[in-house]
Chain length 360, copies 2
């Protein structure tokens, strides 16, 4: 069997070039005589790998000098605790927007450490839109303001960032980091699991403004203090070395493509292929309100659950896999991250047309 079109929500498709390079270097990286997996994280050859990965990410995202880039472990789920443990240090209050299951987990974890104020929610409509925010509801005294920029399960995205003034904006960007141009300076802290747009599961990238570090209580576990990781250049303990290497290859792949401006164009093109088809179809329909549609995760339905199931089954036979939607939304979801080629989306749309003609 050849490689399939993999629409998984994460872990998800990686650039074939990256996988080929990783395979070719598996036993002997650049004449080092060993695999990247076998390298001491303190060796000069590995230090090059990690510093190049950071430099690439800084270049791609245009990260200002007063932000640290940390390569951590534990996923967004660990960040759900680490953010409040490090940032909820003054008023011990934080504002949250509830835009889905991952926002809810972040909220639930933050409640262990301070007072959570939910500014707005779209839960009553199965999170199929991003709620309008009333700035009067924002707590000027909050230690931070938390959003989930892209909602993997529901397929929504913040197109406009809330203006939180002096309150640091904190974003879980796991499912849309590196997919479109963002202004890092508008955020106090950005975190993202690698397993969608960056690399293998097990690596978490944190981009944090320096003034937000160093305020955690001494009783916070060392591994959950940003300042300790920053002071040690992400080498307080052994980092997930191989995952950082793969992420570095993905970053270089993006640089060679032309950076975030270039991939954003491609992502718009891919998403338009699918959304334009959904908008003209009277068989398939998208589940998200138009103005909040994600470029990365596109949920859609046929007229019935039976047809949904038939579509997924037939799709698998044709080589389109992981199209089943999350149980809370039902139907289908096409996750079309950076590494999904345009041809993959075009082939999916062609198949949808064919399926519609056969079942309408």
């Amino acid at each position: 069997m050849e490689r399939l079109y993999n629409f998984s929500a994460g872990p998800s498709v990686l650039p074939e070039e990256v996988l080929k390079q990783a395979a070719s270097e598996m036993l002997n990286y650049e004449d080092s005589g060993m695999s990247v997996m076998e390298m001491s994280h303190r060796s000069s050859v590995y230090e090059n790998i990690v510093s190049e990965a950071e430099a690439s990410l800084r270049q791609l995202m245009n990260i200002p000098d007063n932000y640290k880039v940390l390569f951590l472990q534990g996923g967004a789920s660990t960040q759900f605790a680490m953010v409040p443990l490090n940032l909820m240090v003054n008023s011990k209050k934080a504002d949250f927007v509830n835009t889905g299951a991952w926002s809810k987990k972040a909220i639930s974890e933050a409640k262990k450490f301070g007072q959570v104020n939910i500014i707005a929610s779209s839960e009553e409509a199965t999170f199929n839109y991003i709620p309008k925010l009333d700035p009067n509801a924002f707590d000027k005294d909050a230690d931070y303001f938390h959003i989930t920029t892209n909602n993997t399960i529901y397929g929504t995205v913040f197109k406009n960032l809330p203006d939180t003034g002096d309150v640091p904006l904190v974003a879980d960007m796991s499912s849309n980091i590196l997919s479109e141009v963002i202004d890092v300076s508008k955020f106090g802290l950005i975190y993202a699991g690698a397993q969608k747009n960056m690399g293998p599961a097990g690596l978490t990238v944190v981009i944090i403004r320096e003034d937000l570090m160093g305020k955690a209580e001494a009783s916070v576990p060392s591994m959950l203090q940003y300042s300790i990781h920053a002071e040690n250049g992400s080498m307080y303990n052994t980092p997930p070395t191989y995952s950082i290497y793969i992420a570095g290859l993905v970053f270089k792949w993006l640089q060679n493509l032309g950076g975030i401006e270039a991939i954003e164009k491609i992502n718009n093109q891919k998403a338009s292929l699918l959304y334009d088809f959904l908008d003209q179809s009277d068989f398939f329909k998208g589940t998200v309100v138009k103005e909040d549609r994600s470029l990365m995760n596109i949920p859609f339905l046929t007229p019935s659950k039976e047809l949904d199931a038939a579509f997924i089954k037939e799709g698998e036979k044709r080589g389109f896999v992981n199209l089943k939607g999350h149980r809370s939304v039902g139907g289908m979801r096409a996750s079309i991250y950076n590494a999904m080629p345009v041809e993959g989306v075009q082939a999916l749309v062609d198949f949808m047309k064919e399926f519609e003609a056969a079942h309408k």
Copy 2:
């Protein structure tokens, strides 16, 4: 350049067969149409990978049914906090043996959460031996008793486990797990970073007796609660999927070799090659007292710092890398984990003989 003999203390050498298989499966794992890195952790093909890895580990270590195996992130450094947060729940006291830098880190972290009683220490002799333990000093009321079974930096190992009675014995086994037969039932909890004898950095294996779970306070971060990971079969969040896959391949490699009994024989053979040479040499000498010598990490010295440096430099030219000792011990250290072939150790000894003859 060919593959070198890599004596790194970790991340460290992996079996060449495992790396070859990983390279060959990088783009398409067993006709799945995708890399293991690209698989949803909820897919049936990935669920097979993780359940086979667990089954292999259970078979290799003969893990009793009343122990859970958890595949986590964050390394031993995270366990230094996670163990007290989950186990220091009754008397809030724990006994520790201080056998090196990693024991000290475990102690320092545990002090954040309760009362630490240091039963014995070998710090006054740069940790070159395992202290004799006086059972009268053990706190019968302690919530657990912590040891570092093998001390990577100093090259010592516990040959006899302390009898802690009803107090659960907790062991950091990062640098000697799977290297020799152990009786899991003597431990309450075993933890180990994967990056020495199991696989890539970024995976932490925890083996925990079921009755020790579920007692953490609700305020403990979810990701630091063993029970949450156990209830979710290590899938509370996205696990480090690729690292688990590589560890599974290493486990199968060990099973094919004949299991832990077989590798223990090989490890004894490798260590004897080096120790026997050190014992008869009047140029090189080991730094550890004989009865506490590790099978995994072997520190040694020449008669001077200048000769140490010359040996390391000349060794690198000959393809023996990462032999420099930790700064606290100086000299050299050969880490000869499971995946270091006998020929690697023999070649090192041959080079040592030659160097001795030339410089004595």
